[in-house]
Symmetry: C2
Subunit: 245 residues, 2 copies
DNA sequence: CGACGTATTGACTCGGCTCAAAACCTGTGG
DNA sequence: CCACAGGTTTTGAGCCGAGTCAATACGTCG
């Protein structure tokens, strides 16, 4: 599954990842020393729930689905993460085993970090702990919003919200964007079924003037979309806290 | 609203709170020095969303509702917290203003901690940062489960899950417990309406043999309840990770 | 006892789910 | 270049769980 060929050096990517930019050079150097970079392909299973968490991962590129399966065979998508996000970071502290399954859903490049070394680094290096605190605090806020969204927004609104979060800060008027992974998965990511997604997107299309062609979506009336979506939310676009999805 | 009369010394409570027991005496002393303890009454508003987060709080006793309001006037309950839980801790790091409203819903005693001092302590004291990391990591896992629950469990199952989490580790056979706050709020905490709660509890009562008298609930068939509830969840009772609600 | 807040019940609506069929894509091999 | 196979997405019909609104019951406190 993983391959190691033809990857640019780790340092090169680190600049562009928010989590690392707050760290000073010496810590980054230590991180580079203990980490490696690997490429993964769509469909690869990164790890399973309850496996001992020997490594945690930082996404350089691509998309990874984090999910759980119930006894009934149902699946809950906890999150779908991309560039700049850590995977399995809770295992550095509160638990030793992964709390979910992780699957690559778009070809990905990940930085692989051994848990024990990282734990040690956190114990020895105060600055690194503080960076992690920042990250976890941000995650917490993000999760709280997620709970709110799944509670108060209906299907079309959740989709609209998802689209808005794909927009780059400061874009205007007609915005065309490409859905980052297939509709099936976006549906689960938003806590609905694929059929519901399809119908809800169609509804949204009419109500706020979207153009949909395959996985390209154009927002023709940004203000209209915002007022439709953000009425059922406690924050309003552009919701900075949530910029990282 | 808050009053200061007749409260036992802070130190006395700290022993019993998990977050503090991992800290060594010197840190606890520092915390005691900068903190005060206050009593609040049902209905008090602790703080509002977007207020500058001058203090964060540790619950010694009582229940506090954390919630958000949308433009539409709808309300989403993010969490309802009690003994041992921190309130507003994300404001130490990722943001300066409270991300939700907080209201006292059962008479409460809180330890009040000034944000700036606490931030300073985290910056100076590595052990304290590590304790916070632990806490935030635990929170994250808890929130991820919450997302799963609201996704996969139906109303009766969510109620059953709530009841199970009220059980103390190791209890058996007929367990009687008292609902910690009114049914209206439990309903919102579980992401449903009061009427739905009422009907769903009635349904659960028949299906797994509960006895309900006002706010006292007796679980007559623990295994039955567990198998009914935990089928729609990726964890199974007793789900240790979630012990703190 | 009456009054108010909380909880339950009833009748109805509606959003999202299920299952099944059709349409649409994309890539492959002839 | 077309035909076909596989997956993905859309559409349709019907169902069911949860929400809504309004009325009733219950409890508790004055």
């Amino acid at each position: 599954m993983p391959n190691k060929k033809n990857l640019p050096p780790i340092d090169e990517h680190l600049q562009s990842i928010p989590f690392f930019t707050t760290l000073d050079a010496s810590v980054v150097q230590q991180l580079v020393k203990i980490s490696s970079q690997k490429a993964y392909h769509k469909g690869d299973l990164l790890f399973c729930r309850d496996d001992v968490a020997s490594h945690i991962y930082l996404v350089v590129d691509g998309w990874v689905k984090l999910f759980r399966e119930t006894l009934d065979g149902d699946e809950a998508v906890i999150d779908v993460v991309n560039k700049g996000q850590l995977i399995g970071e809770t295992c550095l502290f509160s638990e030793t085993n992964y709390p979910f399954d992780a699957e690559i859903i778009e070809d990905a490049t990940l930085i692989v970090l051994p848990t024990d070394k990282l734990r040690q680094l956190a114990n020895e290096n105060h600055a690194f702990s503080l960076a992690l605190l920042n990250l976890l605090a941000q995650n917490q806020t993000r999760h709280e919003h997620e709970i709110e969204h799944r509670n108060l927004q209906n299907a079309p609104q959740r989709i609209g919200c998802f689209l808005l979060r794909l927009c780059k800060q400061g874009q205007t008027a007609p915005i065309t964007l490409r859905l980052p992974y297939d509709k099936q998965l976006i549906a689960s990511r938003l806590g609905m079924k694929a059929e519901t997604f399809s119908r809800a997107l169609a509804k949204l299309r009419k109500e706020v003037n979207l153009t949909v062609e395959g996985s390209n979506v154009t927002i023709n009336d940004l203000d209209g979309l915002v007022s439709h979506v953000c009425a059922a939310c406690s924050s309003c676009f552009p919701c900075q806290d949530l910029s990282k999805q």
